[in-house]
């Protein structure tokens, strides 16, 4: 099992995509200290988790790694959703590119499920007036997308 290679399939293109923006947007992955949250105006947080790794069948227990990737983009609050949507669209595009990459002869083959989102918080739909909400204290406008994935390590 090569969880690191599976993780790299997602993290590498996302990091490249955000680094190629001008200016580059900081990306924080799992277990990387986010020391810019109180100084940077915008950043991206990517969380990858693994769920079931094998699939039990009648006579075998083959590898079938499943997991979820959650991407959040943080932008300044109170300035409208446009910048945030631009940033989350970078992630959506990267995931779609990963999803359309042909199966390699070796390495890791990944397919995602439906991309869920983006959802935004604090909600700007008016259901909870932000200034009356406990979330009024949150300094960022945050969007979130998530997608389940299946990965196969081809040796």
């Amino acid at each position: 099992m090569n969880y690191q290679a599976v993780r790299a399939v997602f993290e590498t293109p996302l990091l490249t995509a955000y680094n190629s923006l001008s200016p580059a947007v900081p990306v924080y992955f799992d277990n990387v200290m986010n020391d810019g949250a109180d100084s940077a105006e915008e950043f991206v947080h990517i969380n990858i988790q693994f769920g079931l790794t094998t699939e039990l069948t009648l006579s075998d227990n083959p590898d079938r790694i499943r997991g979820v990737i959650v991407i959040r983009t943080y932008t300044p609050k109170g300035r409208g959703p446009a910048r945030n949507q631009t940033l989350i669209n970078v992630a959506t595009t990267a995931l779609q590119t990963i999803n359309s990459t042909p199966k390699p002869a070796s390495g890791v083959y990944v397919r995602t499920g439906a991309i869920d989102g983006p959802s935004f918080s604090p909600d700007f739909g008016g259901t909870t007036p932000d200034q009356q909400s406990r979330r009024a204290f949150t300094p960022f406008f945050i969007s979130r997308i998530e997608a389940g994935f299946q990965a196969q390590v081809i040796s």
């Binding site: 990387v32 988790q49 499943r66 979330r135 204290f137 300094p139 945050i142 998530e146 389940g148």
Partner: protein, 172 residues
């Protein structure tokens, strides 16, 4: 024992309702185990309700709640109704990392699940700890998304349906 074919449709309907009931129990137990548990109240506040229905409050504290069929009455499952499994705690969105964590005063006590320590930046999610600090979590960031999308939900659903059809008449 053989059973007359005329019962087939009714047997399937009954089996499906039982399967939905047991699947809901399995999923609620799966969520309780996967999610955070400091007081245990959040783990006890999962409800299977018709879409848009209201949910109740916590059923207990001090441990990870264990759900059984009594928590999901069979009569609730009617044909043509969509069901949701939702948590009734007011801070459920924060506990599921769907909304930023808002610190509030709370009574310190022994946590039901083991705690991890770190520092949570302002506006960060409940599970978003880094470095050293005094903030704590009892479930990792995005445990909810992981449960939903990384296979555990499907596994619990399948287990519940297998059990439900196994209990139903005509499917032994």
């Amino acid at each position: 024992m053989a059973r007359d074919i005329k019962f087939l449709v009714k047997d399937i309907e009954d089996a499906t309702r039982k399967a939905a009931q047991l699947a809901a129990v399995q999923i609620m137990n799966g969520l309780a185990k996967a999610g955070p548990a400091y007081t245990g109240r959040f783990s006890s506040a999962w409800y299977a309700v018709p879409k848009g229905g209201s949910v109740g409050g916590p059923r207990g504290s001090g441990s990870i709640y264990s759900y059984d069929k009594r928590n999901v009455p069979l009569a609730r499952f009617q044909a043509g109704t969509w069901y949701q499994i939702r948590n009734g705690m007011p801070y459920a969105d924060e506990a599921m990392d769907l909304a930023p964590y808002v610190p509030e005063p709370f009574k310190k006590q022994a946590a039901v699940k083991p705690q991890q320590y770190g520092s949570r930046a302002p506006g960060a999610r409940r599970g978003d700890l880094s470095g050293a600090g005094k903030n704590t979590i009892t479930a990792p960031l995005d445990w909810w998304a992981r449960y939903n999308a990384a296979g555990q939900l499907q596994a619990d659903l399948a287990r519940g349906f297998r059990a439900g059809f196994g209990e139903a008449r005509g499917f032994q």
